[in-house]
Every structure is written in structure tokens, then in C-alpha cells.
């Protein structure tokens, strides 16, 4: 699967294209297939996302999972500061990254 990701212009936070909007949560990410470039152009022009790009991922039982560790760290947060990730209460969240 292919995923669209970027950063929120105002906050810089990592966001994921859901098919209709942008979400902070990778679980909401949609497979954009071959439509990524077209969506990216529209959304960036409208300033709904900053510095977007397309990545490879796979669908898992827990939802979409980026293929590269860099994007998995982007999706969750720094592995060395679980308290600052999107899942601070989940002790197993780091396993998803590695």
C-alpha cells in the first residue's frame, strides 16, 4: 500500500492522509494507490499539509504500518521518550516501531 504523509503547517506535527482529511494518527491513514501525487498537489496548494511525500507501507492487523523505520518513528514519536509519543500509556508501542 501507499500512504501520504507530511506535516501540519502551523504546528509541524506529522500528519497522514485519511482519504478525506489529515490525521495525526497512522491508524487513520488510507491507501492512496496511484493517486498520491494528485492528492499531494491539491492539498499542499491549499496549505492543508506541508512538505508532503508518498511512502510505502503495509496493512497489518493493527492498521497501516510504514515500511521504513524512519516513518514509523515519525508516526509514533521518539522511541527514547515514550511519554512524548502519541501512545504514552502503551508500553508495547515501541515494539511497533522496531
Amino acid at each position: 500500500m501507499k500512504l501520504l504523509t507530511g506535516n501540519d503547517l502551523k504546528t509541524g506535527f506529522v500528519t497522514w492522509w485519511t482519504g478525506a482529511d489529515w490525521s495525526l494518527h497512522i491508524e487513520d491513514a488510507a491507501d492512496v494507490g496511484e493517486a498520491g501525487e494528485a492528492i499531494l498537489a491539491v492539498e499542499e496548494a491549499a496549505r492543508r499539509v506541508n512538505a508532503p511525500y508518498i511512502i510505502a507501507g503495509e496493512q497489518t492487523a493493527d492498521g497501516p504500518r510504514p515500511a521504513h523505520i524512519k516513518d514509523r518513528i515519525r508516526a509514533l514519536g521518539p522511541t527514547v521518550r515514550p511519554d512524548l509519543t502519541l501512545k504514552p500509556a502503551d508500553p508495547a508501542a515501541g515494539d511497533w516501531v522496531i
Binding site: T11, I73, R74
Partner: protein, 543 residues
């Protein structure tokens, strides 16, 4: 410490107003990200892995308690309650919102600080010896020269778009505590025939092509220091490669031209530049230098330290250094607690260090390139209450220059350029060598970790260096031995095939075990390595 004059303040205030307008236009959609990116980078604002990252300059690593408290305030109000001190004597905030950036820069300007030229192909923050003005072994305080270079390089119209970024260090002691020869220009204030001058080392650096800067001129009269620096830059700006980012640093130019030819061109350029009147009148330099002069310290202060508390005594032995004035000492505050993140400090810790500086260290602090903090002017009689306060805040780890005093870049946990995580490796190594007796038995051992070839973690200059790489989508770590960023400067050599995260920790333990079995009396790790060579270590690592 240097205080802004009206020109300094006007420059910084004007830049804050300019950037506020640029941010406003970006948020309103009047300029694109492609147009905005170089503008934000000129103000130290990167877009990193999780959010915007702001890099704030700490000129030559020197700041006062008011400025330190402002760094805590920014962490608390605009970030997530912590900051990261870097190997360039700066501080970075990892969770900045674009809409807050102008307010942050205004707050910084209110205490004579900024983020200008902490990014981009310009002359970056001038770095220096963190013990400047206090070290027992220094010839003079190098910071007035660093400040002069700061003023000269700020918004320098000719050097704002160099082929690549440019880093300058200034020291004035034989012991190099600033990795001087691993800078684009390293300047060492030296003495000759009773007078002071500057030795110029040009073309050093780390990154993907590490090089030790060769000596270009052994003695430049201090009256010519700016002109000579300008000549060095001009030759680079004219001939440095702009067609290939990997060959754009001055070290590549000098390597390709040859040292003699580069020197010849610099001398020709200097003959012209000197006629331009760039060097300041003596009165102006004296005005700058006078601001670094301190109230004389009381040399009759008690020189004896009560070492009754054994933990305090260990900390004194490891983290306290000799001051040039009797009865005083230099306190090195380790930002490397066991299991912590090298260089990180919470806002409460930053505030505490500011309080201690104000009360005990003539209101001065230093940031070190090893990602620690220094209180440079402390009475020995005050060491115990300082230690007690630091200990209560998890800031009294007695590990300066030991194996757990690890330099580590933010790595893949924060940095968009990184290929592998650095911090977890540092934490695992620190845990493996947690026993303080074992660390002290190993002695001075500088371990440095970078998460990519850009070498922000100075892995080339580590007695033991680690480079994180991406091997088919998996983090892998190469091991280097024998580097040094000090006066015995050398570049580390890769041992062989890399390791995974746990494997690299095991490999380091095999290396240190081998060192213990090979060392002779008084030998540091790097001394033993240089004496016996790579072979026995390689045998220990790979069998």
C-alpha cells in the same frame, strides 16, 4: 561577558520583525514552502522528524543566568519542557510551532540571544574552549577574538551564501577542548617572541570526508586576524565547489588545490584584504575585550576541599577542574545521567543551573561541545553545596570524560537526516558500564555516536566511535577506534563489519576488555590503541 551595544540589538530586533512578517505571509499562503524554507533556515528553524526544530546560538558557548533562564522559559512555554544541548555549543528545541517562532525569537532578543546563522551555507556559531577565561593552562581568554569574529561574520554580505556551511573555532590553550582542528578554520592563539598571534589551521571537518585541518600559517599577528580570516574565506568562496554538495566544504578545496597552493592564494588575497581596513582599531577590540574581564577573584580563598562525603569526593575528582586562580575551580555538570539522553536538560534543570551560576559562578555558564554545562568560576569552598543541589536534580553524575560521558547526536529519534538511532545505543552502553568503579578503572575514554554520515555526534573523533547506517532498512552500527578531537587529534578507523544495536554494545565491551589486558601503567585507551594497533582489537571483536 559581552553585552550587546545598540547596533547588535538593532540587528537582532530587526531580524525578529522581518521573520515575524515572513511567518505571517507563509501562514497566509502568500509565499510557498519552497520560498519560505531558506528564510526559516536563516533563523535556525528546521522541519524535523516530528515538528519544527529551533536551534538557538550560544556564542562560543558562553551565557549568563538571565539567558539560561530564558532557555528554560522557552522549553517550558513553547516546547515540551526540555532542550537539547548540541555538539556546536548550541541548544535545540524539538517541538516548536511555526506560529510561536516569532514570539520565541523576540523572547530571545530580549536577553541578547538569537537563532541567526544556526543553519544555511554561512558562517555558523563561533565555538571555543568551554573553560576560556578560567583554565589554568590558557595563554589568554580566546573569547574576545571569538566575539570579534561573531560580529564580523553576522550578516556578512559576502559570506551569506558560501558553497557550504562554515565552522570556526578559537582556542588559546595547548589542550584543545574545542576539537579545533576539526573545524573549517581552527584558530589557536599562540605566543612567539613574547607576543601573541594566531595559528591558522584550515580545512578540517568531519562528515562523510573527515579531514584534520593542516597548518596554513603558524603566526598571524592579532592585528591581522580578521583580514587573514577574510582572505581564507574569500579564496574558498571563489573556488569552492557549488556543483556538488558532497565536495563543497573547504576541506575538499584545500585537498584538491594542495595546502601550498591554497596558502599562496590566501597570502595573495591577504595582501589585498589588509588594505581594506577590516581589522578593528585597537580601541574597539579593547572595548570588546574589557567586557570579558571579570572582577578579580580572591586568590586568598581557601584552597582546601572537605572530602568527608565519599560521593562528593568522587565527583570532585572526576568533574571538577583546576582554575587559574587559587581557591577556585571549574565545575563540569554532566548531562549524561545513567540511562538519560545525552545533552538533554529539563526546564527545571536549566533553571537550577542558572541559579547556581548566579549564586556561585559570577553569573556565568558554558555549553560544551561534549554536551555538558560548565560553571567556570566557583570558589572551592562552595563546591559542596553546589554538588548537593546538582545531585538532588540528577545533575551530579561523576563521569566527565569517562565511557558513559557519551556524545550522541539526536539520531533517528528526532533527525530527518539520520539513518539510525543514536540515543538508545548511548543508553545501552551507559547501562552496560554503569558501575562507576569500572568506568573509572577504564579511565579517560571518549565515546561518540552519530546516527548518519554527517557526523554531528563526532564519531570520527571518538576514542571509540559509532556510526549508525541503514542496511537494507535496518539499523546497523559501524565501530571505529582511535579517533581524537583533542590536541592529539586523529581520525578513527573502522574495525570491520557492523553490528546490530545489542551487538555493538557487546563489541565495545570486548574492545574495553582487550584494552584492560593490553594497557601499561598510565595508558589511556587511545594510547594503548596507538601503541598496539588495530589487529588485537579486531581479533577480540571478530575472533
Amino acid at each position: 561577558m559581552y553585552k550587546y551595544d545598540e547596533y547588535d540589538q538593532q540587528m537582532v530586533d530587526a531580524r525578529v520583525a522581518e521573520f515575524a512578517d515572513q511567518v505571517k505571509r507563509r501562514l497566509a499562503g502568500e509565499i510557498t514552502e519552497d520560498q519560505f524554507k531558506p528564510l526559516r533556515l536563516m533563523n535556525g528553524l528546521y522541519l524535523q522528524l516530528h515538528a519544527y526544530m529551533l536551534r538557538v546560538a550560544v556564542p562560543y558557548g558562553t551565557l549568563d543566568s538571565r539567558q539560561m533562564r530564558m532557555l528554560a522559559h522557552i522549553a517550558r512555554k513553547y516546547d515540551r519542557d526540555y532542550g537539547h544541548f548540541t555538539t556546536r555549543q548550541n541548544i535545540q528545541y524539538n517541538w516548536i510551532k511555526l506560529e510561536d517562532a516569532p514570539a520565541i525569537l523576540a523572547d530571545l532578543a530580549s536577553v541578547e540571544m538569537h537563532a541567526i546563522q544556526t543553519s544555511g551555507n554561512c558562517i555558523r556559531n563561533i565555538s571555543s574552549d568551554q573553560w576560556a577565561g578560567a583554565a589554568a593552562d590558557e595563554l589568554t581568554d580566546p573569547r574576545p577574538w571569538a566575539e570579534l569574529l561573531r560580529q564580523w561574520s553576522s550578516f556578512h554580505p559576502e559570506f551569506s551564501y558560501l558553497p557550504r556551511k562554515f565552522k570556526i573555532a578559537v582556542i588559546a590553550a595547548e589542550e584543545d577542548r574545542a576539537a579545533m582542528r576539526l573545524h573549517d578554520i581552527g584558530i589557536q592563539i599562540v605566543e612567539k617572541d613574547g607576543g601573541h598571534g594566531a595559528a591558522f589551521y584550515v580545512g578540517g571537518g568531519m562528515g562523510r570526508t573527515p579531514m584534520i585541518a593542516p597548518l596554513i600559517k603558524d603566526f598571524v599577528p592579532l592585528d591581522d586576524l580578521l583580514s587573514y580570516t577574510e582572505a581564507c574565506l574569500r579564496v574558498y568562496n571563489r573556488y569552492g565547489r557549488r556543483d556538488n554538495i558532497y565536495k563543497a566544504r573547504i576541506k575538499i578545496l584545500i585537498h584538491e588545490l594542495g595546502v601550498d597552493e591554497y596558502r599562496r592564494q590566501v597570502e595573495d588575497e591577504f595582501a589585498h584584504v589588509k588594505s581594506l581596513g577590516i581589522d578593528p582599531p585597537k580601541a574597539e577590540f579593547d572595548r570588546i575585550a574589557a567586557q570579558f574581564a571579570m572582577q578579580p577573584l580572591d586568590a586568598s580563598a581557601p584552597d582546601v576541599i572537605d572530602r568527608t562525603d565519599p560521593d562528593f569526593a568522587v565527583w570532585v575528582d572526576q568533574n571538577v577542574a583546576a582554575h587559574k586562580v587559587s581557591g577556585h575551580a571549574i565545575v563540569n555538570i554532566s548531562l549524561k545521567p545513567l540511562g538519560g539522553i545525552p545533552g538533554d536538560a529539563s526546564s527545571a534543570q536549566i533553571d537550577l543551573m542558572a541559579d547556581l551560576a548566579e549564586r556561585y559562578s559570577h553569573d556565568e555558564l558554558r555549553v560544551t561541545h561534549a554536551q555538558n554545562i560548565v560553571l567556570p568560576h566557583v570558589r572551592k569552598a562552595d563546591l559542596f553545596p553546589i554538588w548537593q543541589a546538582l545531585d538532588a536534580a540528577d545533575l551530579a553524575t561523576p563521569n566527565l570524560d569517562l565511557i558513559s560521558d557519551i556524545i550522541a547526536c539526536p539520531g533517528l529519534d528526532y533527525c530527518s537526516l539520520a539513518n539510525a538511532r543514536s540515543i538508545p545505543v548511548a543508553q545501552k552502553i551507559a547501562q552496560r558500564f554503569a558501575d562507576p568503579l569500572r568506568q573509572r578503572d577504564l579511565g579517560e575514554l571518549k565515546l561518540k555516536i552519530s546516527g548518519c554520515i554527517n557526523a554531528c555526534g563526532h564519531h570520527h573523533a571518538g576514542h571509540i566511535g559509532i556510526l549508525g547506517v541503514d542496511r537494507k532498512g535496518t539499523e546497523n552500527y559501524q565501530l571505529l577506534l582511535g579517533g581524537s578531537g583533542a590536541e592529539d587529534v586523529s581520525l578513527g578507523t573502522i574495525t570491520g563489519p557492523g553490528f546490530d544495536e545489542d551487538g555493538i554494545v557487546d563489541a565495545i565491551e570486548r574492545v574495553t576488555d582487550k584494552y584492560l589486558s593490553e594497557r601499561t601503567d598510565g595508558e589511556r585507551f587511545v594510547d594503548t590503541y596507538r601503541r598496539v594497533g588495530m589487529a588485537p582489537f579486531k581479533e577480540a571483536i571478530y575472533g
